[in-house]
Symmetry: C3
Subunit: 332 residues, 3 copies
């Protein structure tokens, strides 16, 4: 619990949340600061391309035969987590469905730093795992984000459309796949898989990513300031969701991992990695994608839930939990 509080305070100082809060404060004080819209559009394109390229390069460097079943499970989890949030958090009183779907997208998406935290702890605990398990993350990350955008678009079309008409779902899905957010994401994935973008990735997309993300956080903070009232009455629901979601998603993934372990001999350590990937929520790939893809969702809801509560829970509770379960199963 003490460790949880320490992580919580650390997260408040992290650039991602720090710049978001900075934007909120600045806007609340009536500043005239504004980032031009064309800059926002470019930053958004840049971040989504980078997220896609990272995923695409990871997929290209993985072994298709070995990774197949775990990757299918990761895709299913990424999609499933969005629907779980849609039909649990999204049904709670006062919660906007688009906010719930965006939060689900963020909790389905993956945090690289949480992933980076579990691997050395598995090494210390001498639990073996396949080296390629880290390459599972784009298979959960990108489907979760795309699913969230599509589900939100379908929902918005249904509620705003004329109630007497039947809403055609396929055109809406097609349209949200053609949106600039999803296009940039999938273009990045495709270029990462099919071409060799490493020189561009290493000299441009990777080094500038954190900086442009920080600028986006200020923009999102300034927006969030105007929408704080929306949250006041429902913040407790986001907090409860953010506390339990990582644990539940982790168990779902650990269970699937154990089934694949029975079928293919996938290691138990690999199942732990998959559980932590599912438990983690993204403060990197998620915010820019959801801001561009679901502009009507409230960033302070989904980023607050993920960064302030979800990530500390994933690191401080889920990692030791699933490593402990693995040791139990390994008979230590």
């Amino acid at each position: 619990m003490l460790e949880f509080l320490k992580l919580f305070l650390d997260q408040l100082q992290s650039p991602t949340l720090g710049f978001l809060i900075g934007g909120i404060v600045v806007a609340s004080l009536g500043s005239q600061l504004a980032i031009p819209d064309s800059i926002y559009k470019f930053i958004s394109f840049f971040l989504l391309m980078k997220i896609g390229l990272t995923g695409g390069i990871a997929i290209r460097n993985s072994n298709p035969a070995e990774i197949f079943l775990p990757a299918v499970a990761a895709v299913a989890l990424g999609i499933g987590i969005v629907f779980i949030s849609r039909f649990t958090l999204g049904r709670l009183p006062g919660i906007k469905v688009t906010d719930a779907v965006a939060t689900g997208g963020l909790f389905g998406a993956v945090s690289g730093s949480t992933l980076a935290a579990v691997l050395p702890q598995l090494d210390s605990a001498k639990i073996p795992y396949e080296a390629w398990t880290a390459a599972l993350y784009p298979f959960m990350d990108i489907p979760a984000l795309v699913t969230a955008i599509v589900v939100a678009s379908v929902y918005i079309s249904k509620t705003t459309g004329n109630a007497s008409e039947k809403v055609e779902i396929w055109p809406i899905i097609k349209e949200s796949l053609q949106s600039s957010a999803v296009t940039a994401l999938l273009l990045g994935v495709a270029l990462g898989i099919l071409t060799k973008p490493e020189p561009v990735y290493e000299s441009f997309f990777n080094p500038l990513f954190r900086g442009f993300l920080a600028v986006l956080m200020i923009i999102m903070g300034m927006e969030a300031a105007q929408r704080m009232n929306e949250l006041r009455k429902v913040a407790q629901w986001f907090a409860i969701y953010a506390f339990f979601a990582p644990i539940i998603h982790g168990f779902l993934a650990f269970g699937l991992g154990l089934i694949i372990h029975k079928i293919t001999g996938f290691s138990i350590g690999g199942a732990v990695v998959m559980a932590v990937i599912a438990a983690s929520s993204s403060d990197i790939s998620g915010p820019p994608t959801l801001r561009a893809g679901i502009p009507s969702a409230n960033p302070s809801a989904y980023i607050g839930a993920s960064t302030a509560i979800g990530t500390p829970v994933a690191i401080a509770i889920c990692i030791p939990l699933f490593i402990g379960l693995a040791e139990l199963l390994l008979g230590r």
Copy 2:
């Protein structure tokens, strides 16, 4: 004097002044080159955030107890230098008050490279100084720039307002503190002090700073080309100010440093550092801040004065002068 001329020629080749002159030449030749306004706004935001972050990180890493009195002196000098310029240079015939205030802001602001030049020379001369003295610079730099923007705003409101009405000063000060320039600067300071922005600072704001500054210099040069006529009749006053101001500011700071030496045992070497900080004028933090905060001031006036004359005087005259005085006081 020979060294002064050499430094003067070096400065003409420095990227800052080189790109400014490039912009002037290009515009004079009737080029259609133009940098979009949204890009200018982002560059300006970027540079001011970087300047603020640098200052904020330096303040966070300093020891509050030790630095307190010298920091108060630095703030007083930064503010005082602007008012000195307002009521000396600004009173000379043909000089626009906004140009004088902006020039004062630039001479109150600090040049990191002049600061970097004095430290090894103190080491060579075996004059001891506190390691944290370099952290004094944001305490002079940022107050000088903010004061210049506020003083210019108040002046502009007074002269353009209806003469029969009394001008309310506080709303103007509040408004200039809420301006995008000052907001970005102070937001950077706050994030530098309260969060841990080092990963973003090292990967984004620091490496790209020089480049965006160069682009800004071209933009400012192109503007300056249209305003060269304004300067023709008054250039000698800027030159005289730029020659004497570093020496006078240096003596004021050295005097304050010696008083603090008597009170707290602050080293004489530290007083030299403070004198050189006051003598230096900024070709880094100043131009973008003043361009954004006092758009009506003429950049060729304040940058020309600072970069072409102020900086060579600070390096070639003030550094040896105050090191010599320190050796005299140390009885060598």
Copy 3:
């Protein structure tokens, strides 16, 4: 031939062509992705400044006495190649003159990577050459690009102007030299020669170049998608030109190099370098310059010709060809 095919496939995976094809595919699928115009303008300015600075710095670091005659030959080749293309490729049925001129500009411009490929092969073959020969490239690169822009502007003015009037050529040349593309290019050259922009170049223009070029390629690909039909009937002419042009340009340069060898003792290895510089076509400096300077030319024509065919021919055929000729002349 096998090596040629391998290089051809490699080129399809290169970031430059990969991102171009990505843009084409994305636009063909009806994506709403769009890069704001102000971003395009800044990227264009950035790339042209970088190309100019690279050239200017190379010129500043070269020895004027030694380089004079080879540099004059390089300028003549750069200009000549544009006119050759204008009056061969540009006369073929169905070919637009602006596309032919732009393609000539790209084949006159120089590929740094082709240049980088020949130098170690000369070393392996123990053929001596002057170390400064690599500095010849801006003397061919920049005149070719500027000539292409001027020739295209004159042509466009003549065809769109009233047939009964005589077209004044000088105003058009002056106007195209004042265009933002040529201004940025020549401003970069001037700053590279006259100032010391290395700190800005190393921290900003050089590291970000590949990334912004990749973004430009996506923009150009999205445009090219709408203009694919134009090419269908004439693609074979571009392919034939792209296959033979590097070899012919290489022989012209090799001949001029041998003449200078007779006059000044310029090495035969240096003549090989000059031949390969002429044989190479630019996938780096060319596309952004021509896109900004000749917006009416079809990027899929000139980039396709250069990157997919011209560069593999230059590397796989011209380098061994001219090294072989040099060994023959050296009597080995």
